[in-house]
């Protein structure tokens, strides 16, 4: 931070991992260097990302008219931008205009993401100035039962994928008489195409702490665990820092905000197992065991972590709770359609021109998200399919893109909304390969506890290979159908139970890819790199069966 002048211009450069992956740190360093040289008075603040990821690194300058954005900015651009008058919001080819007025952002309804990208994620002052703690303060003035009732009435459903009403889960835990109860946040966001949990943890960590604290008050828990996947080092570091700051400010610990509530929160780091995103596997992992699935019942709300009543919610569920309490159930109810209330945080990824976060009320169509917000494919080739809801979600053809985004409409169409991740593919995709990958991924990541998932996925790869090779296609297609039925009905959890969804959707909508009716597009050959030594086995992590 430049503290040489109180008239320094405030410049925001995201500290979000995605922004850093394309050079945000280098941009921040270049700005800092210019300030250190004394050429310009600049106060660099590292904010979260606004979620317009194709514009990252996006730099924002505070001007009297509002925050003016420039992007995507490279470190090499910085001197020219400064010379052109960026600190006054001056014209430049990279100038985007007033950030809040950018159509992509202005059309959204940001509830959970309201502060992400706006504030300094670790500034308690920023947090409170932008409405932070209002939900927790409101909750602490209410009885636990009233908090639960408010959450139930809001219609908030778990954002982790299954869509179970949050309030009903909380009530089950509240009604348990045990002395010791837990609140666990599942931040093992392993689904491809999902990154909202990571962005909210990196961009507004106090919001998650506030949500978990409200949950603790509502159900009578005094201890919480936040299980973050190891693939998210940025989120882990940010949450740990935020928890330490929250403790110093009395937002965690004893007598929170002067109330009778005692609650402390611990970060636990996963160890590279996709299945630990499943709630019972996560509980096993938190107990220090192999992350294998537990049969339900008993449900975790009654016998969860260490056998005690436990609330298990996803990051987006818990980060929605403060708004529900601050503004009331009605305000949240008023957003959405049917039984899908409030907003959903859609994540546009894969082969998409404008990828990022779109938070909007349920009911928006897939086409609006992919074509209007997303701008079609990044390669510029025709769209062919989108996989919605993670690796266990269906591949939808463009003819189904007018489907409204809500839990029931998707279920009816043989698909699922899941965590709101949307992965876009152009016409070069080979859908038989994608179906095979779904089975291969299940074979690689299955916890191994139940046979349909553990063995069925291996057999699935073999059967798809036979179909594609033209070996008794009719018989093998029938066998694949049978296998999919068995995995759906016989698996203990969603991993084996839902793997047939991408497989079947690929087969239903793109049969020619399996049966040799479509000539696949040529793929460019790859030039080898020099100066890499030959390899020796070290037996670390082996390749799949590809």
């Amino acid at each position: 931070m430049n503290n040489s002048s109180h008239t320094a211009a405030t410049v925001y450069v995201p500290r979000d991992s995605a922004a850093r992956s394309v050079g945000a740190d280098e941009v921040a360093d270049a700005l800092q260097r210019a300030a250190t040289r004394g050429d310009f008075a600049i106060d660099v603040v590292r904010n979260g990302s606004r979620g317009m990821l194709w514009l990252e690194p996006m730099v924002e300058v505070v001007t009297p008219r509002g925050r003016v954005g420039y992007g995507p900015v490279t470190a090499e651009d910085v001197d020219a931008l400064l010379a052109a008058g960026m600190l006054d919001g001056a014209e430049h080819p990279l100038r985007l205009g007033l950030v809040d007025e950018l159509p992509w952002l202005a059309r959204q309804t940001r509830v959970t993401f309201a502060r992400v990208g706006v504030t300094d994620p670790l500034s308690t002052q920023d947090y409170v100035d932008h409405g932070g703690l209002a939900g927790l303060r409101a909750a602490l003035d209410m009885t636990p039962a009233d908090v639960v009732a408010e959450v139930t009435e809001s219609g908030l459903r778990g954002r982790g994928g299954a869509g179970f009403p949050a309030g009903i889960k909380w009530k089950t835990v509240l009604d348990c008489a045990d002395e010791l109860k837990f609140v666990c946040c599942n931040a093992d966001e392993g689904d491809s195409g999902t990154f909202a949990d990571r962005m909210v943890m990196e961009g507004d960590p106090f919001l998650l702490i506030e949500g978990m604290t409200i949950a603790a008050h509502a159900v009578g828990a005094c201890e919480g665990y936040l299980y973050i996947r190891s693939e998210y080092p940025g989120a882990i570091a940010t949450m740990r820092e935020a928890i330490a700051i929250a403790r110093e400010h009395g937002w965690l610990g004893h007598n929170i905000l002067g109330s009778a509530l005692d609650f402390d929160l611990h970060v636990r780091v996963g160890a590279g197992a996709y299945i630990c995103g499943e709630e019972t596997s996560m509980l096993e992992s938190l107990e220090g065991k192999r992350g294998t699935v537990r049969a339900k019942p008993p449900i975790p709300a009654i016998e969860g972590l260490f056998g005690k009543p436990t609330v298990v919610n996803n990051v987006l569920t818990l980060t929605t709770v403060p708004m529900v309490l601050a503004n009331g159930a009605k305000a949240y109810q008023d957003l959405g359609v049917g039984r899908s209330r409030g907003t959903q945080v859609f994540q546009l990824g894969g082969n998409i021109a404008r990828g990022g976060i779109v938070e909007t009320a349920f009911g928006v169509t897939l086409r609006e998200l992919i074509e209007d917000y997303g701008g079609g494919t990044r390669t510029g080739r025709p769209l062919r399919t989108a996989q919605v809801g993670g690796p266990l979600g269906a591949y939808l053809p463009t003819s189904m893109f007018d489907l409204p985004m809500d839990y029931e409409a998707f279920a009816e169409a043989g698909a699922m909304l899941g965590h709101g991740g949307i992965v876009v593919f152009d016409d070069s995709v080979d859908m038989a390969a994608q179906a095979r990958f779904a089975m291969e991924f299940c074979a690689e990541e299955s916890c191994g506890k139940c046979t349909p998932c553990r063995v069925g996925s291996v057999r699935g790869v073999e059967v798809i290979d036979k179909i594609v090779a033209g070996t008794h296609p009719d018989e093998n297609l029938a066998l694949l159908e049978d296998l999919c039925d068995l995995m759906t009905d016989g698996s203990l959890c969603a991993m084996g139970g839902l793997t047939p969804m991408p497989v079947r959707s690929a087969l239903t909508h793109f049969p020619d890819d399996f049966l040799g009716g479509r000539r696949l597009l040529d793929i460019q050959p790859i030039q080898p790199v020099q100066a890499i030594q030959p390899v020796q086995a070290s037996g670390v992590r082996t390749e799949g069966t590809a």
Partner: protein, 167 residues
């Protein structure tokens, strides 16, 4: 990161790490992360010590170490490069990156003979809008084409970015 001298024996490191985590519930995973952070991997000699300290069977500890992809039984190369192969990165040619690594003589899950680099696959780094994504020694890279992957593998990356899905 490797053991040297008697005060850094595997046993002493493990016992100290366990002592640091004594108050935690179900501490095995945090303990294993800490052991790996200090030793670079979880050596076989650590398993009986962990079992003894945590009052678990050796089979329990072995089962946990082998269940999770993160825990290594052998040291990795000086640089660990992880290529994302999940769907969002596949949509932008992640398999071309894997092919490129292969053609460079590297096999996923293995370390180069000179010990310089270990290449692995990973399913999702949470950078799905800026794929293909690669992580090297804890640092995340977005929009990685084969040329940029080559620089990352060789440890000669300058920060000039590849064009989006070119090359």
């Amino acid at each position: 990161m490797t053991t040297s001298g008697s005060d850094m024996s595997v046993e002493s490191v493990v016992r100290r790490v366990v002592a640091d985590h004594r108050g935690q519930r179900g501490a095995l995973l945090p303990v294993l992360h800490a052991v790996q952070a200090e030793l670079g991997h979880v050596p076989q000699e650590a398993i009986p010590v962990l079992a003894d300290e945590l009052n678990l069977s050796r089979a329990d500890v072995h089962g946990v170490v082998t269940f999770y992809h993160d825990f290594r039984r052998e040291p990795a190369g000086r640089t660990t490069v992880r290529i994302c192969r999940a769907e969002a990165c596949q949509a932008l040619g992640a398999d071309r990156l894997v092919g490129y690594a292969r053609e460079s003589g590297l096999t996923l899950g293995e370390t180069s003979a000179d010990g310089s680099v270990t290449v692995e696959q990973v399913f999702c780094l949470g950078n799905c809008a800026l794929g293909p994504a690669v992580e090297a020694n804890g640092r995340l890279y977005g929009r990685v084409g084969p040329a940029r992957l080559g620089s990352i593998l060789n440890g000669t990356l300058n920060e000039t970015l590849d064009g989006a899905v070119s090359s």
